[in-house]
């Protein structure tokens, strides 16, 4: 279980930091250049969010699959000393 907790907290930490950085910068850009076309800014913003969502999703999916197997091993699996 410690493995899962560690990976979760790591994943959450980096996504939080990454998105907060993005948000701070995105807000700054928008206020400074409000009269310009904002579409490129949004696209950069969305691109970076997509990157971190996909990577985070991968980590979460692995964690979930690992959790399922570990539960299976503890519950119904044969006592194999693991």
């Amino acid at each position: 279980m410690r493995k899962k907790g560690l990976s979760f907290s790591l994943a959450i930490a980096f996504v939080l930091v990454a998105t907060s950085l993005l948000m701070a910068q995105g807000a700054g850009d928008i206020s400074q250049l409000a009269r310009q076309n904002l579409r490129p800014y949004w696209h950069v913003f969305i691109a970076y969010i997509l990157v971190w969502l996909i990577l985070f999703g991968w980590v979460v999916s692995i964690a979930r699959r690992l959790g399922r197997i570990e539960r299976g091993l503890q519950g119904s699996g044969p006592p194999s000393g693991r």
Binding site: K3, L6, S7, L10, A13, F14, V17, A18, L21, L22, Q25, D29, R39, P40, Y41, H43, V44, I46, A47, Y48, L50, V51, I54, L55, W58, V59, I62, R65, L66, I69, E70, G72, L73, G77, P78, S80, R82
Partner: protein, 238 residues
């Protein structure tokens, strides 16, 4: 048990990886100058190119591990191959999603049948096929061998795919593909790109190690349920 070692390796890779990712964000959003002709949208480049690099590296790992798996029959090679393939598909997905976001502004269209786009899309399909194939057989051993064959076919086909699609749309202006290593590029852009490449490579290997541990546990569990003391894994280590 070896899973502890794997976990430690994963964390050891993840820590500098995450640090570099944070550095990359600081560089991309606060430090690197905006590209003159393309404007702010060029900043997508710093995740787009590293993703493409990681994807290609991952498919290279898939092919190398697949060939070695067919040759030596060591289960661990197959575990490495499937872990890399999953990452390769995800990073290709990132490439295919961030590319159009960039192209909408830079080229004025979401998608064109530009050689790089087409070959990336075909690659994505090939390795999605790889992942599908593993689960599509009744015998897991067979699925692994089939997938390995496809992994090798995929990498052999890449040069020909690229040549073919380049041929088909050779009129495409090559100048729009930016080359930060070119003479006009600001050194800070090159540094940012290198940070991105390092960060993504480390993150990829960190998560791949994690995924490898999952695959290993899955195989060990299935062999444990079958009542045999995981002969393939143990035999592979000999």
């Amino acid at each position: 048990m070896q899973l502890t070692g794997l976990r430690r390796t994963g964390v050891l890779l993840a820590i500098p990886g995450i640090a570099l990712v944070l550095l990359l964000h600081w560089q991309v959003f606060f430090w690197v100058p905006t590209e003159v002709t393309m404007g702010v949208i060029q900043r997508i480049y710093y995740v787009h190119v590293p993703s493409a690099w990681v994807a290609f590296m991952a498919f290279g790992i898939v092919a190398a591990c697949s060939a070695a798996y067919l040759w030596l029959g060591d289960e661990r090679l197959d575990m490495a191959a499937v872990s890399a393939a999953e990452g390769g598909v995800l990073f290709t997905t990132i490439v295919l999603l961030t590319g159009p976001l960039w192209a909408r502004t830079a080229w004025g269209t979401w998608w064109t049948w530009e050689p790089r786009l087409t070959s990336t899309l075909l690659l994505w399909f090939i390795y999605v096929g790889y992942l599908l194939l593993r689960g599509a057989t009744d015998s897991p051993q067979r699925g692994k061998r089939f997938a390995a064959v496809l992994g090798i076919l995929g990498i052999l086909d890449i040069p020909l795919i690229h040549l073919s699609v380049t041929w088909f749309r050779s009129l495409h202006p090559q100048a729009v593909v930016m080359r930060p290593e070119g003479p006009q590029a600001d050194p800070s852009m090159v540094i940012t790109l290198l940070t991105g490449l390092a960060a993504f490579t480390l993150l990829f290997f960190a998560i791949m190690t994690y995924r490898y541990a999952l695959e290993r546990l899955t195989v060990e569990r299935s062999t444990a349920f079958a009542g045999t003391p995981a002969p393939s894994v143990a035999g592979g280590g000999a």
